[in-house]
Amino acid sequence: MSVEQHQQALLESYNGSVDPTVQESAHTANQYTEMFKSGEINKDEYIEMMQDIVRVNNINRSMDNMQVMEHMNTAINGLINLASLV
């Protein structure tokens, strides 16, 4: 597959998904590919930046999990406080 074919696949991911994470990742990957094609970044830099898209997504997923836990913690403590007041 050529670079253009991969870019087309990325564009299809971007257009075909309603998930903002997929859309943002596809958009960023496309942007990096354009930078690589124009010679603004070299091959090693391009590979590293593409790997960073996965790393950033992993960080966001972990932070989403923590936020859910924090909301649950607030709700549980609210219930406990309520119980102690009754």
Binding site: I41, Q51, N58, I59, M63, V68, M69, V86
Partner: protein, 133 residues
């Protein structure tokens, strides 16, 4: 009424996720300070990317600080999500330091790397700040 609410709370707590949420790691000012420093450094360093000598030292500094953050977080109990995120953050920072040690680094790459560190640290700082007190 008190008994009913206590029973309700206990029955809800029987779910594993809820137990994890109830016992989750509390706010730690040292952890918050460490992630704030990383974010502030990345914010400053991305504006210095046109100076390759300074930027190489900056890249090493951020990689060292993110490694410290991994080491600080990794033995805190019930902290799996933050440990995982801190390792990814360090990998982003280390990737820049490694490129500087191998070859000439483009200013565009340097700016994007520091921006990735900054935005990820910002997200982590927001979540850390909301840990239960």
């Amino acid at each position: 009424m008190k008994r009913i609410i206590s029973i309700l709370a206990l029955s809800i707590l029987s779910s594993c996720a809820l137990v994890d949420a109830y016992l989750m790691t509390h706010y730690d000012p040292n952890e918050y300070q460490a992630i704030t420093s990383i974010r502030a450094e990345a914010q400053l360093f991305k504006s210095q990317c046109d100076d390759p000598v300074l930027s190489q030292a900056n890249a090493v500094k951020v990689a060292t600080d993110t490694q410290y953050f991994v080491l600080y977080s990794e033995h805190i109990p019930r902290n799996d999500d933050l440990i995982s995120a801190s390792k990814d953050l360090h990998a982003i920072a280390q990737g820049l330091a490694d490129q500087y040690s191998k070859a000439k680094v483009s200013p565009a790459f340097c700016k994007i790397k520091f921006t990735s560190v900054e935005t990820s640290a910002d997200r982590m700082q927001t979540v850390i700040s909301r840990r239960p007190r």
